[in-house]
């Protein structure tokens, strides 16, 4: 099956949050009590039942204020740190190249929470499981576009085949000019959610400049994990060889011990 990608063109986003609402509706997620902390961003962060969120930012320039809206959510990495660390296979790749969650398998170990370079998976204390966007797997399997893309009134969120979306993103970034750039296709093996950003990536809140699978995850899963079996296997083989070649350390037989070489 062809890999699919969601393109988020922040230059077209008006911050209406239709996507946020559509996500809640399709995934049947209730709202949580929230608080006003002096910004339009609401709720303050992604939550176990808020899988996408428009991040609002005000950037003060000389004589005006610039607004930035960025739809945050799972990036659906090709090399996903969360899938790498998940002990139960709850987090897994789909045929579309996206990363889905089988909640019945989740054991609430939260290993993905600290592994994700984008800090996406959120833990729910009540169910003792983690939750995140699955790019509307139930919809894309039925040949529908994700709920957020369906709800977006300005065309800021579009969905389609990976290569076509990347091509479209670069064409749009070129059209915008200036600092406009494409974010997502160049790291963690290429994400299945890509952005056309109007500013350099580091300008945006909660958006890592050069995200990667954490080095600690690579040491842990690609080095120490196989080494643990190798080392134990080596010891077992060594013990066997020791037994058949050198032999066990036996006490001297009674009577002969006094004449021993001590």
């Amino acid at each position: 099956m062809a890999e699919k990608t969601k393109l988020i063109d922040v230059s077209k986003c008006t911050g209406c949050r239709s996507c946020q609402l559509a996500c809640k509706q399709w995934n049947q997620q209730p709202a949580k009590q929230t608080e006003n902390y002096g910004t339009y961003q609401n709720p303050p962060d992604l939550q176990s039942n808020t899988w996408t969120l428009i991040r609002f930012q005000e950037i003060a320039e000389k004589d005006k204020v610039k607004w930035l809206f960025r739809k945050d959510g799972c990036m659906h990495c090709t090399n996903a740190a969360c899938v790498k660390v998940c002990p139960s296979g709850a987090l897994h790749y789909t045929d579309f190249g996206t990363v889905a969650v089988t909640n019945s398998l989740c054991i609430g170990c939260k290993e993905c929470v600290s592994a994700c370079p984008f800090e996406i998976p959120k833990y729910d204390r009540v169910t003792d499981k983690i939750y995140k966007c699955d790019l509307c797997l139930s919809r894309i399997e039925a040949d529908l576009i994700p709920a957020c893309a369906k709800a977006c009134p300005t065309g800021a969120i579009t969905f389609g085949d990976k290569n076509a979306m990347i091509k479209k993103a670069y064409a749009r970034a070129k059209e915008l000019g200036g600092d406009a750039n494409v974010y997502g296709d160049k790291f963690v093996g290429g994400t299945h959610v890509i952005y056309v950003l109007t500013e350099k990536p580091r300008v945006y809140d909660a958006l890592p400049d050069k995200p990667s699978v954490p080095f600690s995850v690579i040491v842990w899963k690609d080095m120490l994990k196989p080494l643990s079996l190798l080392a134990a296997g080596g010891v077992l083989a060594g013990s066997f060889l020791h037994y058949i070649l050198h032999g066990p350390k036996l006490p001297d037989e009674p009577g002969k011990e006094e004449k021993g070489g001590e």
Partner: protein, 222 residues
């Protein structure tokens, strides 16, 4: 028990040893169940992988308590090298790996056993502390928690490998040794071969407990 056997360990030592050993094995098995998806089935007998997680975590608490008593009980005897004889022993690997005419006489613990003790004590503490932080990862910054997973995995590499060394040398690799941790009574011949200096020390200090003979004043660790 047979007449003439010598007491190598007391009941307290054996209970602490087996509390640590059995919880360690349980932790290795349940840990493997989470480390390898192909071993997820280990969780089935516990009612699922989520239950296995809790078995692992609470066994870890038990392990921590056992480790505390282990270290308190043995660190003086097994945690400190006595130079230069221990260095000499290490140079010839105690005669375990190649033929050595007269390996240095060892006391209650040989340097190999001391290294094993130090590895278990050191990495055991690391396993307990990192495991505790991995249990509540949201209470710490992600960069710190990521390091905890690496240390926990490193501790597993060391302890899992050492476990098999210990298993071999505690059983078929050194016949007679297992009795020291099962009944606590060993033969004089075994003691003379494995820990001659300790035997001499006990004879000299009059602390030798021989089965069937009148007991000298009771010795203990506490």
């Amino acid at each position: 028990m047979r007449k003439g056997l010598i007491q190598a360990t007391d009941g307290f030592e054996r209970i602490v040893h087996w509390s640590l050993a059995l919880s360690c094995i349980a932790l290795c098995i349940t840990g493997l169940g989470m480390m390898y998806q192909s071993l997820n089935f280990i969780g089935d007998m516990m009612g699922g992988l989520k239950s296995l997680k809790y078995v692992h975590n609470f066994t870890g608490v038990f392990f921590g308590v056992a480790l505390y008593f282990t270290i308190r009980m043995w660190w003086k005897e097994a945690g400190i090298f006595s130079m230069p004889e221990d260095l000499e022993w290490i140079r010839c690997a105690g005669g375990y790996l190649w033929h050595v005419d007269n390996p240095p006489e060892v006391g209650k613990y040989n340097p190999g056993q001391k290294m094993f003790f130090l590895a278990i004590a050191g990495f055991g503490v690391i396993m307990f502390l990192t495991g505790l932080m991995m249990w509540f990862p949201l209470s710490f910054p992600p960069t710190i928690v990521r390091l905890m997973y690496v240390l926990h995995a490193l501790g597993f590499v060391v302890i899992f490998a050492f476990f098999f060394v210990h298993l071999y040398l505690g059983t078929i690799g050194s016949p007679g040794s297992l009795d020291a941790m099962l009944t606590g009574w060993v033969s004089r011949a075994w003691l003379k071969k494995q820990h001659p200096k300790w035997l001499k020390e006990m004879e000299h200090e009059g602390t030798l407990v021989v089965y069937g003979e009148e007991k000298p004043s009771a010795k203990g660790h506490h």
